[in-house]
C-alpha cells in the first residue's frame, strides 16, 4: 500500500509543473486556487486579528483612552466584517475544500475550474472594495449593518464595504455551486454516497447553504447601499420603511452563515478523529445526516437573533423551539466523535490535539447556545458579552481550531513537507489556553450585563476585561507560531511521503504533493469509508511478511 521507494528525481507535481506569476494567477488547478485562497485568507486573518488586538487593548481599562470612540467603532466593525466575510466563510471551504473535494471524489478537478478561478478573483475584488472602504472613511455600523443606522445615520463609507461584501458573496455562491456539481457528478466509480468521506457530506451541506442563502445577504446589502443613495424608504421608518425587515433579511442569511463556518469544520474533525483513532466514524450515517439536518433546520431559526426586537411573542416561541431542534444534530455529532475514540488506537499528533480542543470548546459553545435559545434568558444576555463569548467559542474555538487542525493534517499533502511536530503541539496548547482565557471571562461579563460594542464601561467590569486581554495576547502568539513554522517547513521541513498518517481516503493514494491532474488513472473504489481496520491489517501483514 504505502510506497516507500526513494524518489531520486523530484517528480512533476502541481507545484513545480509550471513557474511564474502567470502560472498562478491564470491557473484553473483547484489545488493552486486553494493556495491562492490560503494566502489571501491568511492575509485577511492577520488584518482581522490586528483589529481584535486593538479592541482588546482599548478594553484593558474601563475608560475609553487608547483611541477615539469613532475609531473604536470602526475597529470592531472591520474586525467583524473581515473575520466573518473574508476569513471564516471562505477559510475551510475555499482552502481545504477546494484542495480536497476533487481529490476525495477521485476527480481531476472541480466541475467548473474556470468558475473556481473567477470565484477567487471575486473574493479579491470584494476584499479590495472592503479594504478601500475601510481605509477611505472606514465603516462604523458593526458587521451587522443594522438599519436605520447604516442607511441614514452613519457618515462612514458603508456603501463601499457593503458592495465589497456583495461581490464577495458571488465568490461564495460559485464555490458552493462547484462543490454541489462535483460531488453529484464526478465521484469515482464505486464511490457511492454511503462511502463518501464525512468531509464531503459536510461540504455538500455547506454548499447548499452557500447557494441558497448568499443571494439574500447580497440583495439585502445592495438595498442598504441603494437606500443610502436614493432614500427609497425600504428600511427607514420615516419614509414608511421597516428597520426590522432588514434584520429578518440579514439573519436569514447570517444565521445559516454560522453553519457555513461550522459545518466544514465538523467535516475536518470527522476526518481527523477517525484517522488518529484508526477507526471508522462511529455512527457514520448519523453524522452524515446530521450535516444535512443542520443545513435544513438552520434556515428556519434566524429570528432567534431578534427576541428583543419587538417580534410577536408567538413567533419568538416558534423560533426558540426550532433553535432547540437545530441543536440536536450538533449534539449527535459530538457524541459520535467521542464514541469513535472508544476501542480505537489513539495517536496524540497535533491534528488530534486540535480535535480534542475542538470537541471541548464546541461543546461549551453549543451548550451556551442553549442559553441564547432560551427566551427568558436570552432577553437578559442578548447584545451582551455573553453572545460575544458564545459565538467566539463556535467560530474561533470551533471553526478556527478545526481549520488549524485540518491545515496540519493535510499540510504534507498540500506542500509535500512535514511541519515540526513539537512546535505545532506547543502552539496548539497556546491556542487552547489563550482562547479560554480570552473568552471564558466574557460569559461572566455578559451575564453581569456588559453590553457588546462598548468603547468604555463601568469599572466593575475591569478585572474580567484584563483577564480577557491577557488571554488574547497568548492566543495571538499561538496563531503567529504556525505562520512561522509552516513557512519554515516549506524549505526545511522533512519531505512527506504520499501517506504520512497512513490515512484512508483517495487523497492519500496520490503522491505528496499531487500531480496537476491528481490521478494518473481514474480510481475505482471498492472499500467503505474509513476502512482503518483493513489498513491496519494490511500493515500487519506487511510487517509480518
Amino acid at each position: 500500500m504505502a510506497t516507500t521507494v526513494a524518489q531520486p528525481v523530484e517528480k512533476t507535481n502541481y507545484l513545480n509543473a509550471d513557474y511564474g506569476i502567470k502560472s498562478w494567477l491564470l491557473t484553473t488547478d483547484h489545488k493552486r486556487i486553494a493556495l491562492l485562497y490560503l494566502a489571501s485568507v491568511t492575509f485577511f486573518f492577520f488584518i482581522g486579528g490586528f483589529f481584535a488586538m486593538l479592541i482588546r487593548l482599548e478594553l484593558l481599562t474601563p475608560a475609553g483612552d487608547l483611541m477615539q470612540a469613532d475609531t473604536y467603532n470602526k475597529v470592531f466593525t472591520m474586525h467583524g466584517v473581515i473575520m466573518v466575510f473574508f476569513f471564516l466563510i471562505p477559510s475551510i471551504p475555499a482552502v481545504l475544500g477546494n484542495f480536497l473535494v476533487p481529490l476525495m471524489v477521485g476527480a481531476k478537478d472541480l466541475a467548473f475550474p474556470k468558475i473556481n478561478l473567477l470565484s477567487w478573483y471575486l473574493y479579491m475584488i470584494g476584499g479590495a472594495f472592503a479594504l478601500y472602504g475601510m481605509i477611505n472613511g472606514g465603516v462604523d455600523t458593526g458587521w451587522t449593518f443594522y438599519t436605520p443606522f447604516s442607511t441614514t445615520y452613519s457618515n462612514t463609507n458603508v456603501s463601499m464595504v457593503a458592495i465589497g461584501v456583495f461581490i464577495n458573496g458571488f465568490s461564495s455562491i460559485f464555490t458552493g455551486l462547484n462543490f454541489i456539481v462535483t460531488i453529484h457528478r464526478m465521484r469515482a466509480p464505486g464511490l457511492t454516497w454511503s462511502r463518501l468521506p464525512l468531509f464531503l457530506w459536510s461540504h455538500y451541506a455547506t454548499a447548499v447553504i452557500m447557494v441558497l442563502g448568499t443571494p439574500v445577504i447580497a440583495i439585502t446589502l445592495l438595498l442598504v447601499a441603494a437606500e443610502r443613495l436614493l432614500h427609497l424608504g425600504i428600511f427607514d421608518a420615516r419614509l414608511g420603511g421597516d428597520p426590522i425587515l432588514f434584520q429578518h433579511l440579514f439573519w436569514f442569511y447570517s444565521h445559516p452563515a454560522v453553519y457555513i463556518m461550522i459545518l466544514p469544520a465538523m467535516g475536518v474533525i470527522s476526518e481527523l478523529v477517525t484517522c488518529f483513532s484508526r477507526k471508522r466514524a462511529f455512527g457514520y450515517y448519523f453524522v452524515a445526516l446530521a450535516s444535512i439536518g443542520i443545513a435544513v433546520i438552520g434556515f428556519l431559526v434566524w429570528a432567534h437573533h431578534m427576541f428583543v426586537a419587538g417580534i410577536s411573542v408567538y413567533a419568538a416561541m416558534v423560533f426558540s423551539f426550532l433553535s432547540y431542534l437545530v441543536a440536536i444534530p450538533s449534539a449527535i455529532k459530538v457524541f459520535n466523535w467521542t464514541a469513535t475514540l472508544y476501542k480505537g488506537s489513539i495517536r496524540f499528533t497535533t491534528p488530534m490535539l486540535y480535535v480534542f480542543g475542538f470537541i471541548g470548546l464546541f461543546t461549551i459553545g453549543g451548550m451556551t447556545g442553549l442559553f441564547l435559545a432560551a427566551l427568558g434568558v436570552d432577553v437578559h444576555v442578548t447584545d451582551t458579552y455573553f453572545v460575544v463569548a458564545h459565538f467566539h467559542y463556535i467560530m474561533v474555538g470551533g471553526a478556527i481550531m478545526a481549520y488549524l487542525g485540518g491545515l496540519h493534517f493535510w499540510w504534507p499533502k498540500i506542500t509535500g513537507r512535514m511541519y515540526p511536530e513539537s512546535w505545532a503541539k506547543l502552539s496548539a496548547l497556546l491556542v487552547f489556553v489563550g482562547f479560554n482565557l480570552t473568552f471564558f471571562p466574557q460569559f461572566v461579563l455578559g451575564y453581569m450585563g456588559m453590553p457588546r460594542r462598548y468603547w468604555q464601561y463601568p469599572p466593575e467590569f475591569g478585572v474580567l476585561n484584563i483577564l480577557s486581554t491577557a488571554g488574547a495576547s497568548v492566543l495571538a502568539v499561538g496563531y503567529v507560531f504556525p505562520m512561522i513554522y509552516f513557512a519554515w517547513s516549506l524549505r526545511y521541513g522533512p519531505k512527506a511521503s504520499a501517506n504520512p498518517w497512513r490515512a484512508a481516503g483517495l487523497e492519500w493514494t496520490v503522491p505528496s504533493p499531487p500531480s496537476t491532474f491528481n490521478f494518473d488513472e481514474t480510481p475505482v473504489v471498492t472499500w467503505e469509508a474509513y476502512n482503518y481496520d483493513e489498513i491496519e491489517e494490511t500493515e500487519e501483514a506487511e510487517v509480518v511478511g
Partner: protein, 364 residues
C-alpha cells in the same frame, strides 16, 4: 492623569476584592431568570465536564501504546437513539421553562403604571405621566408594576437594566414596551444595548428605585401639569380638535374612548388602537383609515417631535379612562365657523360605534 490612574487602581483593588459573578437582583423577574440560568450552567457543567472526562479517559485508555490494534465498531442504534432523545427531552424542558418566563415578561400586568421613554443619539429621555421629565436617570417606585412605553427619535436603541434582567429594543416609528416590578431600592445601571453610533457606550444612565412614598413626592414636586395636560395643549395647538370632536359630527373619528378598543378599518380589517396605532394615525394617517372616514388628514411627519407625540398619546389614553377633558368643538380660527360634518353619504355606519363582539380580539 496620575489621579485617574490612582482612582483606577483603587477601583481595581475594590473590584478585585469584591468580585461579583451576577448583577444585583432587583426585580420580580430576576429571580426567575437566574433560576433558569443556574439550571443551564449546571447542565453545561455536566455535559462539558462529562465530554471532557470521556475524551481524557478514552484517550488514555485507548492510546496506541496500550491499544495497538483498534476494534472496528460500526455504531449503535440504541446509543444514537439515546443521545438523540435525551437531549431532545432536556431541550424541550428548557424551551418550555424559558418560554414561560418570556410570556411573563412580555405581558405587562393590568394596571401597571406607565412611563414614556424616548431614545435618541445618545441619551434617554423619560416622561412620567405626572409630568416629571428626566434625562438618563429613571426614578421608579419599589413594588409597583412599571411599564415603559418607548420609542426612538433616530436609530434603534435598546433599554437594558441588568439588575431587572430585562431588555427591549427601542425602535423609530413605533412604540415598544417592557415592564418590571422593582423589588429592591437602590441605583442600577441602565445601558443602551443596541449599537447606536459614536457614543453608544455613553448612552448609559441610572435607574433609581425609591420607596413608594418617596417616589410619589418626587413625581409630584415642581411639575407644570401632567403629561396628558401637555398633550391636551398639543392637541389644541396642532388643530386636532377641529376634526376630532367629542361628538359624532367631526370630520375625523371621535377619539374619546378610542384607546385599547378595536377599530374597524375601511378595508374591513380590525386593528387594536394601541400606542403605535395612535402614533401612526398622526404621522402617517393614510396607512389605516377608520371605516366611514375619508383619507383627508395631513401627515404630521417631521412636524411633531417624539416628545410631543408621547404627550399626545398620553392625552388620548387619558381620554379613554376619563382622566382628561374631551376635546371641545373648536371654531375655525379664520372663519369663526364650526366645521360641518362632510360627506354624509359615503357611509351610513356611524363612526366609532362599538363593533359586535365576534371580530374583537380578546382583551388582555
Amino acid at each position: 492623569m496620575s489621579r485617574a490612574l490612582k482612582e483606577l487602581e483603587q477601583d481595581g483593588l475594590r473590584y478585585m476584592l469584591n468580585f461579583p459573578l451576577l448583577p444585583d437582583r432587583a426585580s420580580t423577574l430576576s429571580v426567575h431568570v437566574d433560576a433558569l440560568y443556574f439550571f443551564l450552567v449546571a447542565l453545561t457543567l455536566v455535559f462539558s465536564v462529562g465530554i471532557a472526562l470521556a475524551i481524557v479517559i478514552l484517550a488514555i485508555r485507548y492510546r496506541r501504546e496500550r491499544q495497538p490494534k483498534p476494534v472496528p465498531i460500526e455504531g449503535s442504534l440504541v446509543l444514537e437513539l439515546t443521545w438523540t432523545i435525551i437531549p431532545l427531552g432536556i431541550t424541550m424542558v428548557i424551551f418550555i421553562w424559558a418560554a414561560a418566563i418570556y410570556f411573563y415578561e412580555t405581558r405587562p400586568p393590568r394596571g401597571a403604571m406607565e412611563i414614556y421613554a424616548v431614545g435618541k443619539q445618545w441619551m434617554w429621555k423619560f416622561e412620567h405621566v405626572e409630568g416629571q421629565r428626566e434625562i438618563n436617570t429613571l426614578h421608579v417606585p419599589i413594588g409597583r408594576d412599571v411599564r415603559m412605553i418607548m420609542t426612538s427619535q433616530d436609530v434603534i436603541h435598546s433599554f437594558f437594566v441588568p439588575a431587572f434582567r430585562t431588555k427591549a429594543d427601542v425602535l423609530p416609528g413605533r412604540y415598544t414596551s417592557v415592564w418590571f416590578r422593582p423589588t429592591k431600592t437602590g441605583r442600577y445601571h441602565l445601558f443602551c444595548a443596541e449599537y447606536c453610533g459614536t457614543q453608544h457606550s455613553g448612552m448609559i444612565g441610572e435607574v433609581v428605585v425609591m420607596e413608594a412614598a418617596d417616589y410619589q413626592q418626587w413625581a409630584q414636586s415642581g411639575t407644570d401639569g401632567s403629561l396628558a395636560s401637555a398633550g391636551e395643549k398639543n392637541f389644541q395647538q396642532y388643530g386636532c380638535a377641529m376634526c376630532h370632536r367629542s361628538d359624532t359630527q367631526g370630520r375625523g373619528p371621535n377619539i374619546v374612548a378610542l384607546y385599547g378598543k378595536p377599530v374597524l378599518l375601511d378595508d374591513g380589517r380590525t386593528v387594536l388602537a394601541d400606542e403605535t396605532y395612535i402614533r401612526e394615525s398622526i404621522m402617517n394617517p393614510g396607512a389605516k383609515i377608520a371605516s366611514g372616514f375619508k383619507n383627508i388628514m395631513p401627515s404630521f411627519e417631521g412636524q411633531i417631535s417624539e416628545d410631543e407625540m408621547v404627550a399626545l398619546v398620553a392625552y388620548v389614553k387619558a381620554l379613554g379612562n376619563g382622566m382628561a377633558n374631551p376635546p371641545a368643538p373648536v371654531a375655525n380660527p379664520d372663519t369663526g365657523v364650526y366645521p360641518v360634518t362632510p360627506n354624509k353619504e359615503p357611509s351610513m355606519v356611524a363612526p366609532n360605534q362599538p363593533k359586535p363582539a365576534p371580530s374583537q380580539p380578546k382583551q388582555k
